[in-house]
């Protein structure tokens, strides 16, 4: 297909056109031997890339399990991955952390017939990489091994999926480690910022912010893990992605055989709950006196992935702060002013509920307010005036031309298809993605910025040495957090890292 690109000009274009048509013999490209004065004068051949279609790789086993298979025989390696319909949103309220522990202990705790140490030794001796985990809205397990060891590795992998042993000692160790990890919750400003930002956006009642505590983890027993696994790990909840050095028919027959006699469970998995919470705009401060750099997050709620405006939003955010070095935020905060090493924004397109728009940076305490002022100014500006034609063209070209990177390996292709199957996304978007991006106009970007960015709704979170941050920069006294957000700030204290109880302010 034809891709959008900077149109070749002049003599070089002519040469490139002839080359593309195969008119010029090799060595006859004398015109192209000169080096153009500017890269804008370079001409490029057309890049013909058609993404693979999910339907060409989608198979169903007799028990209904969907398997995506993408062959690649370059290396003697096979990857088998499974996505599981489960997640931490299914944690019982008094046992927060159960899903996560179930996922990791499936791998760590041996199986019904192999001790934990035997399982580990066997996997290590085969040089197989086997993993299991449960995240917020899905579970997953995967294995990667040499082709010649495929059978032995599948034995281990299916034993882990079907009959995890949940060794008591390993569980006790994992619980101790989890509790010890809690102690570090208030150490790094980065972890404090992530935690408090989540709370500001999602409130304290949503599963995504319910913290593991010493007592919640201590209360989790082996029986809890067994029950959680039994509830969700059955063929009805699995989506497989197989890739690498396999023959599709062969691996399908192999999976078919290994599922024999394993009944699909009953009942659908409860949906991922959306937060019932409206963030409050304002200035929020967390004091961390020992550091000389403040971390800042600025934002509000975003929207969902299925929103028809998503392409406009992708381009809008790319120009504002998503597009790396050439995005406006980094150019202004870093290149113009030298106020930060990194500054960026992300417009969250949530899969299950609204994502979060978040801009942020880290700057030395004295210049936090000045850098924050620039970020606010840029948010205002992209709502006020259309982006330039050059910004728009570059941003669109970036999305269009990097699209093929989604398929850079058989494993990533199969994983992309499995992910869409899991979240119920119609894979046809892949075929139209580049056209949809290319159709975005400067007016669209302005419209998206006006409708989806709301300066009045912004929350600003600052973590760092508050005395120094509030004092500001003696050379630039016109900047202060108070002037940015008049009306007072909310101070958030540090919680007890084990109980996650916050002291009264």
């Amino acid at each position: 297909m034809m891709l959008l690109r900077r149109q070749p000009t002049g003599r070089a274009a002519c040469a490139a056109g002839l080359l593309a048509l195969g008119v010029l013999p090799p060595g006859a490209t004398a015109g192209a031997q000169t080096i153009p004065a500017h890269p804008a004068d370079l001409a490029y051949e057309l890049l013909d890339f058609t993404p693979p279609a999910a339907s060409d790789h989608r198979h169903e086993l007799s028990n209904g399990i969907v398997v995506f298979a993408v062959e690649d025989h370059e290396l003697p390696l096979v990857t088998v991955a499974v996505t599981v319909r489960t997640g931490a949103h299914l944690d019982p309220p008094d046992k927060i952390g159960l899903a996560g522990l179930t996922g990791s202990q499936m791998r760590a705790g041996g199986t019904a017939t192999m001790s934990a140490a035997e399982f580990d030794e066997e996997a290590a001796f085969l040089a197989a990489q086997i993993g299991s985990s449960i995240g917020a809205t899905s579970g997953g397990a995967s294995m990667n091994c040499l082709t010649r060891d495929l059978d032995a590795c599948l034995d281990l992998f299916f034993d882990m999926l079907r009959n995890p042993g949940f060794d008591e000692e390993r569980l006790a160790l994992a619980k101790r480690q989890a509790i010890q990890q809690m102690e570090r919750r208030n150490d790094a400003t980065g972890s404090i910022e992530r935690r408090e930002w989540q709370r500001l956006m999602r409130g304290d009642a949503h599963f995504s912010t319910l913290p593991r505590t010493r007592s919640s983890v201590e209360s989790i027993t082996r029986d809890d893990l067994v029950a959680f696994h039994r509830e969700y790990y059955h063929p009805g909840n699995f989506i497989f992605a197989v890739s690498g050095d396999v023959d599709t028919a062969g691996i399908l027959a192999e999976l078919e055989r290994r599922f024999d006699g394993w009944a699909a469970g009953t009942g659908p998995v409860p949906p991922v709950p959306a937060p019932d919470f409206t963030p409050s705009p304002g200035l929020y401060l967390v004091d961390k006196p020992d550091v000389n750099q403040g971390r800042v997050a600025i934002g509000h709620l975003g929207t969902t992935r299925d929103n028809p405006d998503r392409y406009k939003l992708l381009v809008m955010n790319d120009i504002l702060g998503g597009g790396g070095f050439s995005a406006r935020l980094l150019t202004r905060v870093r290149s113009d002013e030298g106020l930060a090493y990194s500054a960026s924004s992300n417009f969250g397109l949530g899969v299950h509920y609204d994502g979060v728009f978040q801009a942020g940076f880290q700057s030395r305490s004295e210049t936090v307010a000045r850098a924050a002022a620039i970020v606010l100014e840029e948010i205002e500006r992209i709502r006020r005036e259309p982006v330039t034609e050059e910004e728009l063209r570059n941003s669109i070209a970036y999305f269009v031309e990097t699209f093929s990177r989604n398929f850079s390996s058989a494993a990533s292709t199969a994983g992309l298809f499995a992910g869409d199957e899991h979240t119920g996304r119609d894979p046809s978007y892949l075929a139209t993605y580049r056209d949809n991006i290319a159709a975005v106009t400067a007016e669209d970007v302005l419209d998206a910025a006006r409708r989806y960015l709301d300066p009045e709704a912004l929350a600003i979170l600052v973590v760092g040495n508050l005395d120094a941050i509030l004092a500001g920069d003696p050379e630039r006294p016109e900047f202060s957090l108070e002037t940015l957000r008049p009306g007072g700030a909310v101070r958030i204290p540090l919680p007890d890292p084990f109980t996650m109880e916050y002291p009264a302010p």
């Binding site: 900077r6 031997q33 080096i35 500017h38 890269p39 370079l42 490029y44 890049l47 013909d48 890339f49 370059e74 290396l75 003697p76 390696l77 760590a108 140490a117 030794e121 290590a124 001796f125 085969l126 040089a127 040499l146 101790r176 480690q177 509790i179 010890q180 102690e183 570090r184 150490d187 790094a188 050095d245 000389n292 750099q293 790396g324 070095f325 050439s326 150019t331 870093r334 290149s335 113009d336 002013e337 030298g338 106020l339 930060a340 090493y341 880290q362 700057s363 570059n394 070209a397 970036y398 269009v400 031309e401 990097t402 093929s404 990177r405 850079s408 390996s409 760092g464 003696p474 050379e475």
Partner: protein
């Protein structure tokens, strides 16, 4: 393309044994100016991972200009005569004027720095101390910057790349090398040659002083504002006595402040000559076309007129153990480091395999320290061979109720075992099987392969990707015992012990009833207790039991806590059977 598929198919067919000798069929081209080009076409998506390495890093610096290699890396993104400016003549004029003003400013700053050094003023940066002339120069400097600002096209270099679908453009500086990389769509290969050769041929180091502020922010981000960054920096300086590996890649702040544009330019002329560079392409491209482009574009660079100097100062042999005790916002942990050998030393394969025996879920350290003894929640170790020196590091995080010194002793016990007991053949085979599989896994991503080829080329040559695996495969149990007995002596090590910095609430519930001073004393005792042997522990317990009956009431609590710690330690020492 065909070459690689053929070679891999062959290797796969022969992979019935334990070690598949995977060969990576790189084509090496050396241009007339001495620049090396490594070509590895691969089938797959229409992209090329492209990069080049300058064989220079922070160990090529000297005191006074530490950080220049990294600062320089930042400057390489500031554009050229054609990129980043609307008017190169005016731009160069302003840059020259800026340098002049800066030189005059240095004289003013030197006076203030002296006053600060002598304690007459607190902060040389405080505007209140500036003379009128000083302030005038600063104003002039700002005015010139503003004038230049009208000419600049900010982040033009990056914008040109991303506007053509190039992604992941960045660079990294290490002790030994500086690597620049980007992924380009397959049809944009010429753009890469244009951009990279242009910034080597016609660089303009504009925005030099603003970029220094960015680097300061990077330093704050990575070192100053992380829980243990400052301690790690101190430990590096402690471990290396004379070697340039002792200063941070990002540089000392005073050097960052002082480095001039002239010094950075001199550094560039020496170390960025084409005969000190290697480039690599991995992905979807035609090698014949790449070679022609390389000659046309990189062939323009003039060969350096002298060979870049190599670091001269070697590390002094260490004569006694060094220790650092740190109170930080982190879980109690220990780092033990030994001087070992540089990359490619004949003993390195055995040291690397020894490290692999220690690591991972089935490794000796996790088994012993975490699972069996329960003194640690994490433990790991391994050899790091840099270009000119090397080290072997062991690390462990103490489990709740255990002191980092207990972890330290347990680490030593594992190293003692390696000195006296031959490694079990199956255990050794396990590590070799993993190495064999990783010769394939390292080929899975074009970007990492490109990075790895360039990094290897900066060390001993890219061919080590093919010639090193057989060396690891050949390591025997005897080799491991021999190196274990060569490098792990106490006088050859430095130890960093981290305690959690006392906070408002005592994290250890046993200390909750004590006042801060007592808590501090207990923490120090904990450190000491961790190093006692079973016999000494017995004696201490006896003494403290006597004390507890005689101690004044206000000290009873503290004595009880110490006794509890001692008894725990005794139980642990008896439990581990060593």
């Amino acid at each position: 393309m065909r070459t690689l598929v053929g070679a891999l198919a062959l290797a796969a067919a022969c992979a019935g044994g334990t070690a598949a000798a995977q060969q990576v069929p790189v084509e090496e081209v050396v241009l007339d100016n001495g620049m090396t080009l490594l070509l590895l076409p691969r089938p797959g998506d229409p992209n090329v991972a492209a990069g080049w390495v300058a064989k220079v890093g922070s160990v090529y610096e000297r005191p006074g200009i530490t950080g220049v290699a990294h600062l320089f890396e930042h400057m390489m993104f500031k554009g050229t005569a054609a990129i980043g400016t609307r008017n190169i003549e005016q731009d160069l004029q302003i840059i020259a004027q800026l340098d002049e003003v800066k030189a005059a400013l240095r004289v003013e700053e030197a006076a203030l720095l002296e006053a600060e050094r002598l304690g007459r003023i607190e902060d040389a940066g405080d505007p209140a101390h500036r003379t009128e002339r000083h302030q005038a120069l600063m104003d002039r400097f700002e005015a010139l910057l503003a004038q230049q600002g009208d000419l600049l096209i900010k982040e033009d270099f990056s914008r040109i790349y991303s506007g053509q679908g190039a992604s992941g453009m960045n660079a990294g500086t290490s002790y030994d090398f500086t690597l620049y990389f980007v992924n380009v769509p397959a049809n944009k290969l010429e753009l890469w040659f244009w951009m990279e050769s242009d910034r080597l041929l016609n660089p303009v180091f504009r925005e030099f002083y603003a970029e220094r502020d960015v680097v300061h922010e990077e330093r704050r981000l990575r070192i100053d504002s992380t829980p243990i960054g400052r301690f790690q920096e101190q430990f590096e300086a402690l471990f290396w006595q004379s070697s340039p590996y002792g200063w941070p890649v990002v540089g000392w702040p005073s050097d960052l402040e002082g480095i001039t544009r002239g010094e950075a330019l001199a550094f560039f002329d020496l170390y960025y000559a084409p005969n000190n560079l290697a480039a690599a392409l991995v992905g979807d491209f035609d090698p014949a076309e790449a070679k022609a482009l390389a000659e046309r574009y990189f062939g323009r660079l003039p060969r350096g007129d002298r060979l870049p100097p190599q670091p001269r100062t070697r590390e002094m042999p260490q004569v006694s153990e060094k220790r650092m005790l740190a109170y930080a916002e982190t879980n109690p942990q220990v780092v033990v480091r030994y001087h070992s050998v540089p990359d490619g030393h004949v003993d390195e394969p055995a040291l690397v395999v020894l490290g692999q025996l220690l690591n991972d879920r089935t490794g000796r350290l996790y088994r012993a320290l975490v699972e069996e003894e329960g003194v640690a929640t994490r433990a790991s170790g391994g050899q790091s061979g840099f270009k000119f020196e090397g080290m072997f590091e062991l690390r462990g995080t103490a489990a709740e109720g255990h002191a980092p010194e207990e972890v330290e002793q347990a680490l030593y016990a594992e190293m003692e075992r390696l000195k006296t007991e031959p490694v079990d053949p199956r255990e050794l085979q396990k590590v070799k099987n993993q190495n064999a599989a990783s010769t394939f896994r390292q080929l899975q991503g074009n970007f990492f392969l490109m990075y790895s080829l360039l990094m290897r080329d900066a060390y001993r040559g890219w061919e080590t990707i093919n010639s090193d695996p057989p060396l690891y495969e050949a390591v025997t149990a005897d080799d491991i015992m021999r190196v274990a007995n060569t490098y792990f002596e106490p006088e050859n090590r430095a130890v960093a012990v981290y305690y959690r910095k006392a906070s408002d609430e005592a994290p250890d519930p046993r200390l909750a009833g004590l006042d801060p001073e007592e808590q501090e004393q207990i923490r120090q005792m904990q450190a000491m207790i961790g190093q006692l042997n079973a016999e000494q522990i017995g004696q201490f317990i006896e003494r403290f039991e006597q004390m507890s009956s005689q101690a004044p009431p206000e000290n009873q609590d503290m004595v009880a806590v110490v006794l509890e710690l001692l008894r725990e330690r005794r139980a642990a020492a008896e439990g581990d059977g060593r």
